[in-house]
């Protein structure tokens, strides 16, 4: 199904069926979610904390951080699918929102180091050796976790709202929007690379020690972050599914398929787009905030346009407009990357490049589409 070229009758038919029955998930879907929750919240903690080291059931810290990291990526992929798959806005700048969320929590983590840095100073190490004498104003209150948690939501949210407000008001669409989102994240990357900006320049934030008083490298903390990421992913999936099956979601889908006709029906697409766009950015910010304590570093290269394109590729690989698909896509692409950089360090880019080309050519609906076709039904 190629959404942009979908003939109108199909779209209106979809609108029509919306009122018939609003079902979040099929029974199978709910069962899958239930299993996922049990896996994330019960099985993994047991395997990581209770099962003895060396036993077959033990989950190593490597596997835990790797999967935890991919869970965060998967949240981003779902958020991106919400705007791209359902609203037709292809963002090449979602890495920016992800990184901003990460930086917001990173500020707290830097403050939480306290005097344990190499210079035993009030200021983070990078500020000491770059001659900062005091925290700049935008670091105010960042020693409070809840304030930073608020920033995680607010900074990407406000930025997305302002950017979206002007972009959608000017009715910038399609490829133009993609390119200026790319310009936005690129400009932000350059800004954060500057050491004078006050975010640690190229090195960014590293060497975290603790979060809310817990040792950040303790297995227990890791498991907690992992569970939190997993549950957030499940929550985001349910929320997005709820949105796209609601009346609002139907309008959004209609905007994707034929924006001018939605306008003629009396809706103002701007508000709908802005809502979905901002929500997506906020979700990305939350994903970034969960990501940073797990990988232990946040720096401007997360804002590189390349990273944002990779996010799009997770969505495309999994299947856009399916919500579940992007989760699968994020796992497949990232696990492939982890395995290939290990077994074929000099050739893995060939595999990765071939996957991207192959998916777009042969799996226009991604991996999920492949299964749907197998089942004979198809999406429509």
């Amino acid at each position: 199904m190629n959404a942009t070229t979908l003939p109108l009758p199909v779209a209106t038919a979809a609108l029509g069926t919306a009122d018939d029955r609003v079902r979040l998930f099929s029974r199978l879907g709910w069962t899958a979610i239930g299993i996922a929750v049990v896996l994330i919240a019960v099985v993994v903690p047991l395997m990581a904390l209770v099962a003895p080291d060396g036993s077959a059931l033990h989950l190593s810290s490597y596997a835990l951080t790797l999967v935890g990291k991919i869970l965060c990526y998967a949240i981003c992929a779902v958020a991106l699918d919400l705007v791209w798959g359902y609203c037709g806005i292809l963002s090449l700048g979602h890495g920016l929102f992800f990184a901003l969320g990460g930086y917001a929590i990173g500020m707290y983590l830097m403050r939480a180091i306290g005097h344990d840095g190499v210079y035993k100073s009030d200021l983070p190490d990078f500020m000491v050796f770059l001659d900062w004498k005091a925290y700049p104003w935008y670091w105010a209150f960042t020693d409070h976790f809840w304030y930073c948690a608020l920033l995680v939501v607010l900074v990407p949210g406000v930025l997305a709202f302002v950017f979206g407000y002007f972009a959608f008001r000017s009715r910038i669409k399609g490829v133009y929007l993609s390119i200026i989102t790319q310009a936005l994240t690129y400009a932000a990357m350059l800004l954060f690379f500057r050491n004078d900006t006050g975010f640690g320049g190229n090195n960014g934030f590293t060497d975290f020690k603790r979060i809310l008083g817990f040792d950040i490298y303790a297995q227990g903390t890791r498991v907690a972050l992992f569970v939190l990421s997993g549950l957030t992913l499940v929550g985001v999936l349910i929320l997005c599914r709820y949105l796209v099956t609601s009346k609002l979601g139907r309008v959004v889908t209609a905007i994707r398929d034929a924006e001018s006709r939605v306008m003629f029906c009396g809706y103002d697409p701007k508000a709908f787009k802005l809502f979905v766009w901002t929500l997506s950015a906020v979700i990305c910010g939350i994903a970034g905030a969960l990501y940073v304590p797990q990988v232990g570093i946040i720096n401007p290269s997360e804002m590189a346009p390349q990273n944002s394109i990779e996010m799009v590729i997770w969505v495309a690989t999994g299947g856009r407009g399916t919500l579940f698909g992007p989760v699968i896509g994020a796992f497949v692409v990232n696990l492939a990357k982890s395995v290939f950089t290990m077994i074929a360090p000099e050739y893995w880019l060939f595999f990765l490049g071939a996957i991207f080309v192959g998916v777009t050519l042969f799996l226009p609906q991604g991996i999920v589409g492949l299964f749907r076709r197998r089942r004979g039904g198809g999406a429509a």
């Binding site: 190629n2 942009t4 070229t5 292809l90 002007f166 972009a167 008001r169 000017s170 009715r171 910038i172 669409k173 399609g174 490829v175 133009y176 993609s178 390119i179 200026i180 790319q182 310009a183 936005l184 690129y186 400009a187 350059l190 800004l191 690379f193 500057r194 346009p305 390349q306 394109i309 799009v312 590729i313 495309a316 000099e346 050739y347 880019l349 060939f350 990765l352 490049g353 071939a354 996957i355 991207f356 080309v357 192959g358 998916v359 777009t360 050519l361 226009p364």
Partner: protein
């Protein structure tokens, strides 16, 4: 850290195996000039003293100060052997076996440095006479002083330029002789400024004052260096120059020099803006065709630049191994080679991947991103991960001096001209040829064009190949100013998109104005904001501009705008 008190000497110098002939550094023409000059000089100055082994002895030492003194000794009685020795030293072609035996050679044939007779020293006993910047400066000045007597006005002019920048007191006598001999009034005036520079060191305050006043007419920015000490203070707060009048005169002269620099600075900024713009134009032009006309978001565009640059590298290699005589002209052959290499790879990609994705611009983005990864890794596998060396041909090295403080590099001038030619060609193809007509027709209405008999798939392939080929030409230009490596395309892709979007998709004129505009704006911002902020400001400006004019500066009008 405790620094060692004395400056330790370097170890044994590198052997002949380690160096490559640098004969080109000193052309035969220059040699000739020097010899003729010396013949004249011999007639003019003191009786000739042959160079003795004793004069050269310090050159075998490890101490660079000794070598500098040796140059002064040689220049006290210059003859043609001195000129030959200095030239060889300056181009790493002077060798010695022991303190008394010196040879000049290019690695295969040698002559005795003192007599000029053919010699056959043992190759493994040869050690090069190494020089450092200080000695190199001495040699440069000395060679310039000798060149003052050249019959060629251009050579004399260049020599005066060098001497004016760094007047070496040891050469004062030679300059005086040259002033007496000089017939060209303009050159004579400039030579007198060099004399004035020597006079600054005079003990007589009146001579100093006159020299300072004279130097105010100089347009050479290096003259500032000579005058500055006269207005500076010592550590204890007293002035270096005790005489207040002399100080005031020096200040006046300095101000005059500063004023004469302003014009050069402004012109320089404008030139760099145009130059940056022409490069942006070359890298974006191919994208303007593939993206603007065909709607393909080609993330592999940067890699076509890379292919063009590597094609240049390969052609250079072929010329070096097969046509060493014509090495300077490899670039001319590289232009069609780069175009074809990129165009063919572009055509293949269009046939195998992109044609399945027309009308789905966002998916071409993903596929071409994958292609770009493949191409980068392929070039890494073929050429290695490191950058490769692409040399500027001699006619593209150096620059032309427009004003005393403004040298416009040849490579940038050629690139500006090259981009103008490429733009003209693209315009001609699109507007004057049948192919161009078809391309425009397919762009405006694919279905209708097909209906009237245009073979749209063929046109697509050709248009994409042309776009890729032009990117290849951009790669040739980039190889002359930047590095050539597997990742080089990545740094230009965003800039290219900005140019195309700013100018207006599908508009050649828009791309030109967009590229030049961005170039000039960046270069005028940079002195105030620094390079990093200038780039950010430009990007933010583009984002804001698109809000005002979502279709770019030159928007398509009419039906096609709705597509």
């Amino acid at each position: 850290m405790a620094m060692p008190a004395g400056i330790a000497k370097p170890g044994a110098p590198a052997g002949p195996l380690m160096w490559r002939s640098a004969f080109s550094a000193c052309s035969w023409r220059e040699w000739l000039v020097v010899v003729v000059a010396l013949a004249l000089l011999l007639a003019l100055v003191a009786p000739a003293f042959a160079v003795t082994a004793d004069d050269l002895k310090p050159l075998a030492s490890d101490d660079f100060a000794d070598k500098a003194t040796a140059v002064d000794t040689l220049m006290s009685a210059p003859d043609e052997r001195v000129a030959a020795i200095l030239a060889a030293m300056g181009s790493d072609q002077l060798f010695f076996t022991d303190e008394t035996h010196f040879y000049i050679g290019d690695g295969t044939t040698y002559v005795d440095a003192i007599t000029g007779a053919k010699a056959e020293p043992k190759a493994d006993a040869l050690k090069p006479v190494e020089i450092n910047n200080r000695v190199r400066g001495k040699i440069d000045s000395a060679q310039s002083a000798l060149a003052l007597l050249s019959p060629d006005r251009g050579v004399r002019s260049k020599a005066i330029e060098t001497l004016a920048g760094s007047p070496d007191p040891a050469l004062a006598k030679l300059v005086d002789a040259a002033v007496a001999k000089e017939t060209d009034p303009a050159l004579k005036a400039r030579l007198e400024l060099v004399q004035a520079a020597f006079a600054l060191k005079s003990d007589n305050p009146a001579t100093r004052l006159a020299a300072i006043k004279a130097l105010g007419r100089s347009e050479n920015p290096q003259t500032r260096l000579l005058l500055l000490p006269f207005v500076q203070k010592n550590a204890d707060g007293s002035f270096v120059e005790p005489d207040a009048d002399t100080r005031a005169a020096a200040q006046t002269s300095l101000d005059a020099i500063d004023r004469s620099q302003k014009k050069g600075e402004l012109l320089g900024a404008l030139f760099s803006g145009v130059s940056l713009g022409s490069i942006l134009l070359l890298v974006a032009l191919g994208l303007a065709i593939t993206y603007g006309l065909m709607g393909v978001i080609n993330m592999a565009h940067g890699e076509f630049l890379m292919i063009g640059a590597y094609a240049t590298y390969v052609v250079q290699g072929i010329f070096r191994s097969h046509f060493p005589g014509a090495e300077n002209w490899y670039l001319v052959a590289a232009i069609p080679a780069a175009f074809l290499a990129s165009a063919i790879i572009g055509a293949v990609l269009e046939r195998t991947v992109i044609r399945f994705l027309y009308g789905r611009p966002l998916e071409t983005l993903l596929a071409t991103f994958g292609i770009s990864l493949l191409l980068i890794q392929a070039s890494r596998t073929i050429f290695g991960a490191q950058n490769v060396e692409v040399a500027n041909p001699s006619w593209m090295s150096g620059g032309i001096e427009v004003l005393p403080n403004l040298i416009l590099p040849w490579n940038r001038i050629y690139i500006i001209a090259f981009s103008a030619i490429v733009v003209a060609l693209v315009w001609a193809i699109l507007n004057l040829t049948r192919l161009g007509l078809f391309v425009r027709a397919v762009t405006q209405n694919r279905a209708m064009a097909g209906c009237v008999g245009v073979r749209t798939p063929r046109i697509d392939m050709l248009a994409f190949a042309i776009g890729a080929g032009i990117a290849g030409l951009g790669g040739v230009a980039l190889s002359q100013i930047s590095n050539v490596g597997p990742d080089m395309g990545q740094s230009y892709i965003i800039d290219s998109f900005m140019v195309v979007v700013l100018g207006g998709v599908g508009q050649l004129a828009g791309t030109i104005v967009g590229a030049l505009g961005l170039g000039i704006v960046s270069k005028f911002l940079e002195p105030f904001s620094g390079a990093v902020l200038a780039k950010i400001i430009v990007l933010v400006f583009i984002i804001l501009f698109i809000q005002r004019r979502p279709q770019g500066m030159f928007a398509l009008k009419g039906r096609s705008a709705e597509a």
